[in-house]
Symmetry: C2
Subunit: 326 residues, 2 copies
């Protein structure tokens, strides 16, 4: 396979491309029917299935000068696994819809499949890519659907109660700082993304960049939070204050973020940390840290140390994306 | 809502856009948790779930001069429902990953959601859009994931046996003839797609166009074929001969297509008919018609009236798509 890494998707054709991807994924399927038929068939113990879909699009969601195929596959898996974890569920399968420009190389696609598989193996052991779709497109797009199973009841964003402890598991702000490193340091004269020179980065910057390009959301802590009595939970993907606003609105209360987190942690997107509420009398599961309290609904959905949050709370892909900036 | 149909997606922002889509879908959800949380939660009677994903991309899969938003939503639902039906399953839910250029109008998105819902209501009553994702993209892309449940065992493409009757339910060739009408009759001087003038079409052409733009695969017949003893089944999406080759290879036998079908029916793509094999002693379920026989594996995977099929058997999106042609 290595000898044909430079061959393009357009030259290969769908069938050969699919065969390459399946070769990378081979042996990982745990489904009753895995990739290769019209649809996958999964066993669902408990009789309930959790499903989510999230898309990475070239331009708004990644730049090829900054993300390798492996990074991209990893991130597509990680962000989707986080949505399943945020329901208190254990991820068991991913489906991959891949839309590729004809000029994409086979090697890039190999790396992408390897990144997807590695993220599953490391973040959600037992979860595998069980199906997918290949299409041609002018814009490289990965739409991943994640599937999970529940031991008990799903943990919704609407279940928080006044008096609950508000807690977070996973990083806050690192992914946004990593994006900032890319935009500030690795752009050419015209502003276009330029390759990352890792040798020029501090250890902190390397860590921030990794959080942006290959995030490691605390997937296993989702099911653990459910077992530990979480009343509400969600994935922090668009910024803590914006996502906390959504949880507060869904639960009909106000969330006061009392921890001193700093602006990037409060508003930066793409961390895929887990935001959860717990009754005040339970011990927080290991990995969660208290960041605030749920209060009876007041004038504002979210407070920062008692004061209404102001300014942009987070990230809106249609409002914030400027196609020209990279 | 009508007064804001011309507002663009870029002006609206993600939240307002999502609210519009949910308004169209409202009331149709049958899930335990429908749209609005991190993930959907579905009840799966029988403890097995069937999952498939299929993507429509502007350019290779549709042109906006030819397809309305409603057409597009309809087709995205129909082609995904067909994959679930082809496993012998009953579709219960769709997830929609929508990647939209900022200039897309809100009215177009409204129509797209309406088309998705209408196709579910008509082709697979009880199936609803239970979740999704919105992203910005330079290329309008719909990635749909379909979910289904099984009464019995899944019907794979690998289960056909020599001696089986090969049968088809649904149209063959109409979608390809419809595409031909579009390419021959509705293009401007530069070759770019031009709006369809329905008044200039014959009744047959109108029907072919409908098969291309709003296909009606026989979704309910999938589960009926499974009940009726089908040994193998698949969705005919890339052309009968190409898909029959896949079934023959998976089952380790040869399929002889003996019915006089004509070249467009044999090789045209996008019909989403169901191709199935049945033991010779069973009555074909209503809606299926015999088109050939499964034979012990010979030199060719597929024969047409006893002779090896030659030439291009069907459609390969990466080989056949010419970005310049429309």
């Amino acid at each position: 396979m290595t000898g044909t890494r430079g061959t393009t998707v357009g030259e290969l054709g769908e069938r050969a491309l699919l065969a390459r991807i399946l070769e990378v994924l081979e042996g990982s399927s745990t489904a009753e029917v895995g990739p290769g038929d019209d649809a996958a068939v999964l066993i669902v113990p408990g009789g309930r299935v959790v499903l989510s879909t999230d898309t990475l699009v070239h331009g708004p969601d990644f730049r090829l000068a900054w993300s390798s195929g492996f990074d991209l596959g990893w991130k597509a898996a990680a962000v989707n696994l986080a949505d399943i974890a945020a329901m208190g569920a254990r991820p068991t399968a991913l489906l991959l819809a891949l839309a590729l420009p004809d000029a994409t190389t086979a090697g890039f696609v190999d790396d992408l499949a390897a990144g997807l598989r590695a993220a599953c193996d490391e973040l959600a052991p037992g979860c595998a890519i069980e199906g997918g779709d290949l299409t041609a497109s002018d814009t490289l797009t990965l739409a991943v659907t994640a599937v999970g199973v529940l031991e008990g009841e799903p943990v919704l964003r609407s279940g928080a109660r006044p008096g609950d402890i508000v807690a977070v598991a996973g990083e806050l702000g690192a992914a946004a700082r990593g994006l900032d490193v890319l935009f500030r340091r690795f752009r050419g004269d015209t502003g276009a993304p330029a390759p990352v020179d890792a040798a020029s980065l501090s250890a902190d910057e390397v860590a921030d960049l990794a959080a942006q390009l290959r995030p490691r959301p605390p997937i296993a802590l989702g099911a653990r939070a459910a077992e530990g009595g979480a009343t509400a939970m969600m994935d922090v993907s668009d910024g803590l204050l914006l996502d906390a606003t959504r949880m507060a609105d869904a639960s009909g209360l106000t969330i006061d973020v009392t921890a001193a987190l700093g602006d990037v942690a409060l508003r930066g997107g793409e961390d895929h940390a887990l935001l959860a509420c717990f009754p005040p009398y339970v011990m927080l599961p290991a990995g969660f840290r208290e960041i605030g309290r749920a209060l009876p609904r007041g004038g504002a959905a979210v407070l920062v140390a008692g004061r209404p949050a102001t300014g942009a709370l987070g990230w809106d892909p249609h409002r914030d994306w400027d196609a020209g900036r990279g």
